[in-house]
């Protein structure tokens, strides 16, 4: 478990932008946490780190949006949101496994903790919780599977300024 603290939403975006440097094709990030915890803000920062030119907006109603990552040739960012999904079957119906997890893309799944049975066994889970004041957030990162575990040291290095003892 790697734990970071951010001061506010734009600080969460900066952290995610830096994290973007360690993310590549086939990676899945699962974002969990209460309403307003900063899941979309985190995705916006990650998108910036991957060179997405378009404005990344919340996919709660559209369920999924796909963006081109301009600083990595051929790479796409799938941004999914399971907020409205009540059953795993609905996630499968919308093409979670078939359409939105692939070798040419980074997949970010907001409210994704309910669908982990349907995604690859290796993923990074980031759980965001409210901190001590209104804007502060605590990010608990859980590295699941060898593809992520072997990046633990690198992640700790780039996220150094934000890290706190778990």
């Amino acid at each position: 478990m790697i734990v970071a603290v951010t001061r506010d939403a734009s600080d969460t975006q900066r952290l995610a932008e830096v994290l973007g440097g360690l993310v590549g094709p086939g990676d899945v990030l699962v974002l969990a946490g209460d309403l307003g915890a900063g899941k979309t803000a985190l995705t916006q920062g990650l998108a910036r780190g991957l060179g997405v030119a378009e404005q990344v907006t919340s996919p709660t109603f559209t369920l999924a949006r796909t963006y081109a990552c301009h600083n990595r040739e051929g790479l796409r960012l799938h941004h999914l949101d399971m907020y409205r999904i009540d059953h795993l079957q609905e996630a499968l119906d919308m093409g979670l496994a078939d359409e939105f997890v692939d070798d040419d893309a980074v997949t970010v799944i907001e409210w994704g903790d309910v669908v982990t049975p349907a995604i690859p066994s290796s993923f990074l889970e980031i759980r965001l919780t409210y901190g001590e004041d209104d804007d502060e957030r605590r990010l608990a990162m859980h590295l699941v599977g060898p593809a992520w575990v072997r990046r633990a040291v690198a992640i700790q290095q780039v996220l150094g300024p934000w890290l706190v003892a778990g």
Partner: protein
Amino acid sequence: MNDMVTTAGMPVHERTTILGVETSCDETAAAVVRGGRDILSSVVSSQVDLHARFGGVVPEVASRAHVALITPVVAQAMVESGVTDADIDAVAVTAGPGLVGSLLVGMSAAKALALAWDVPLVGVNHLEAHLYASLLEEPALEFPLLVLIVSGGHTLLVGFHGHGQYRIMGSTLDDAAGEAFDKVARYLGLGYPGGPAIDREAMAGDPEAIAFPRAMLDNGFDFSFSGLKTAVINHVRRHPDVSTVDVAAGFQQAVVDVLVHKARGAARAMGAKGICLSGGVAANSQLREAILDVCVADGLHGYLPSRTMCTDNAAMVAAVGWWRLMADGASPLDIGVVPGIGFPGTIG
């Protein structure tokens, strides 16, 4: 995106009858519209008691629901229209934006029908269809118009300068307004759908009791509702005994203030003759009232379509299909869906 249109227009007239098909998001919808204006039928799955036909289990979201619903919804639209298959001159279908699996269900059905009936197929843009929703109820609309599309998935200010001539004036940078309504309603325990729930609750509250932030973003025309959502949550966390009606009223007032302020500014900037609402949030009573007030004050026409025309429907798809058929002609039968398509025919 070029496969949306071909170059040669097709003659259409006031008797040209189009079947519209819409499956871009949650609603499965079909409608028959004559002459781009005259709605002969408009069927939307959520308004129909289809539960009995599916043993009480109708999936709420995603493509499997559309697969189950598309055939009965199209059949019902045909029956209610009073026309026969032979009377249909073209099939219009939403090609994007939307969820790929959901779009494909409508697209496949529309292609099959166009092929079986030997009539042209025309793929249309869902957001452009929202602009034409207002024309269905107000045929005498005068351009240029400022259209505020405000729903669960979209918050957009569009300058509607003429058929096929649009300018995006502003859009949300994070959450759509309808999404903010829905999430705040769920957080306050007011149930689903959140828009009507907040609207009801707010009537009993004091909109001035809590001063929630208005994200004006330097008076440009873009929106941000994520900060407001978080401000509501922070307020309730700090004041667990706060009156829910006051929270709902204060939140709604903040959303409406921003929407109306930006719509008014955009209408002025483009020299609009009127302001038109579209999308599910356009049913919000306070928003309707506030937009009309601004229109009266500024000498503009205010167009407030009915709730059924504001929310997703296929009549608007058939209506825009009529215009697109005239302007661009039929789409090729191998047209694909375009989940991330932007606005067509934009200027500037």
